[in-house]
């Protein structure tokens, strides 16, 4: 058994799971179980949102340590599902590591970022339906969905340049708030508030908050606090972007 390859593979799987939106508890547990299934003598895993460390001891008594620095996280729940399935297979039938590595690579290459039209569609749906949901009119909902398309374009452009996430949140919120306020100024019978709420639902750090709470309650205090902090700062960034747009257009009527 090649312990180093095992460690490398299990950490890679863990890293990709964390990147696609898993909770810390699941990631640590998954690495531990894979190494356990392949008969490592001792396994020590520690992970927070930005870094992951594991040391395992081979049956011959030699120790190996590897670290992964986790850069940024998106959310891809299908990739997470498939990685989860792979790790279950590894635990239950322990196939050869070469086979496992090939499977892992095929999951990575088949899970691509969303195609542009689907990305636009999801923004369209979210903003349009939540504007109606929070009591907007049909016309407001249509404008909200249109503004969301512009927002989507901006998200794709800023995603390419690798912006600071907080700064880009401020700018994005500023953009859609400004557009919504301008819409409301130009068109009679359209109010900006429901349009803005519909678009806020897109940028609000819902998944971050949910995952941070789950981390906190399952005992991963450091990661939970990190994610909670991140969500709060992003919420503040939304408030800042909105305030900027309102102040620039001359305050609230």
């Amino acid at each position: 058994m090649d312990t180093e390859a095992l460690l490398s593979l299990s950490l890679d799987i863990g890293e990709e799971m964390l990147l696609s939106g898993a909770e810390i508890h699941r990631v640590e547990d998954c690495i531990r179980r894979i190494c356990h299934a392949y008969e490592a003598k001792r396994i020590d895993v520690f992970s927070i949102t930005s870094v992951m460390i594991a040391t395992i001891e081979s049956p011959e008594g030699k120790s190996y340590t590897q670290t992964r620095r986790i850069a940024q996280s998106g959310t891809d729940l299908t990739k997470l599902h498939r990685l989860n399935c792979l790790s279950r297979t590894l635990c239950s039938s322990t196939p050869s590591l070469d086979f496992a590595r090939r499977e892992f690579q095929s999951i990575l290459s088949s899970c691509r970022p969303l195609a542009a039209p689907i990305f636009y569609l999801s923004y369209f749906l979210i903003a349009g339906s939540f504007t109606l949901f929070f009591g907007g009119t049909l016309l407001e909902s249509a404008f909200s969905a249109l503004i969301a398309m512009v927002l989507c374009l901006a998200v794709r452009l800023t995603g390419r340049v690798n912006f600071n996430p907080i700064l880009s949140k401020i700018m994005l919120t500023f953009l859609f708030s400004l557009l919504a306020i301008l819409c409301a100024r130009v068109l009679p019978g359209v109010a900006e508030d429901k349009i803005i709420i519909g678009n806020i639902m897109i940028v609000i750090p819902g998944i971050g908050l949910t995952n941070s709470l789950r981390d906190l309650f399952s005992g991963d205090l450091i990661s939970g606090l990190l994610r909670l902090c991140e969500s709060c700062i992003l919420a503040l960034a939304i408030a800042a972007g909105y305030s900027l747009a309102v102040l620039l257009t001359g305050g609230i009527a």
């Binding site: 356990h36 299934a37 299908t78 989860n84 369209f124 819902g206 789950r214 939304i238 305030s243 305050g251």
Partner: protein, 164 residues
């Protein structure tokens, strides 16, 4: 009544948008979005029973967390897949917006009231998730404990293998 169904339908569409954004595919896409409809449906159904907003949000979250755990178990997938899109309609986006607005207007009393209300909802959501996820983990560890004992009774069986 019609109004309520329309809202539930919209909650479904909103959750569907998020499910697409989070790359959920196949049958999981429907059930994850359906969770959004359930969460808002439960919230509305509890409307005449409880006057406290926080309690309603708490119960709706608990129901949806249970739904997520059960669906995840059936489909052998992480709970996150169902929990995250389903909880979206309960997220206090509207309350957050009003809070920001009061701050901009300088109406600090209304700001603190609305801010505390937003915080209260967020804590209710947290509580709902907490109750269900701790109950599930207790259930899982009990199950694991008794399975281990049962296996140990039959001699010669190894208990090293876990199932995820």
């Amino acid at each position: 009544m019609r109004e309520a169904f329309f809202q539930i339908y919209l909650a479904f569409l909103g959750s569907l948008g998020f499910s697409i954004l989070f790359h959920i595919t196949s049958t999981r896409l429907f059930f994850a979005s359906f969770g959004g409809a359930i969460s808002w449906g439960v919230y509305l159904a509890l409307n005449p029973l409880f006057s406290s907003e926080a309690l309603r949000y708490f119960l709706a979250t608990a129901v949806i967390a249970l739904y997520a755990e059960i669906m995840a178990k059936i489909q052998k997938t992480p709970t996150t897949t169902y929990l995250v899109p389903s909880i979206i309609p309960l997220i206090p986006g509207s309350a957050l917006y009003s809070t920001m607005n009061y701050a901009l207007r300088g109406e600090w009393e209304a700001f603190s009231a609305e801010g505390l209300f937003t915080l209260q909802i967020a804590l209710s959501l947290a509580g709902g998730i907490l109750v269900v996820s701790s109950a599930t983990s207790v259930y899982k560890s009990l199950l694991h404990h008794f399975m281990k004992k049962a296996v140990q009774k039959k001699k010669g069986k190894k208990t090293g293998r876990y199932s995820l």
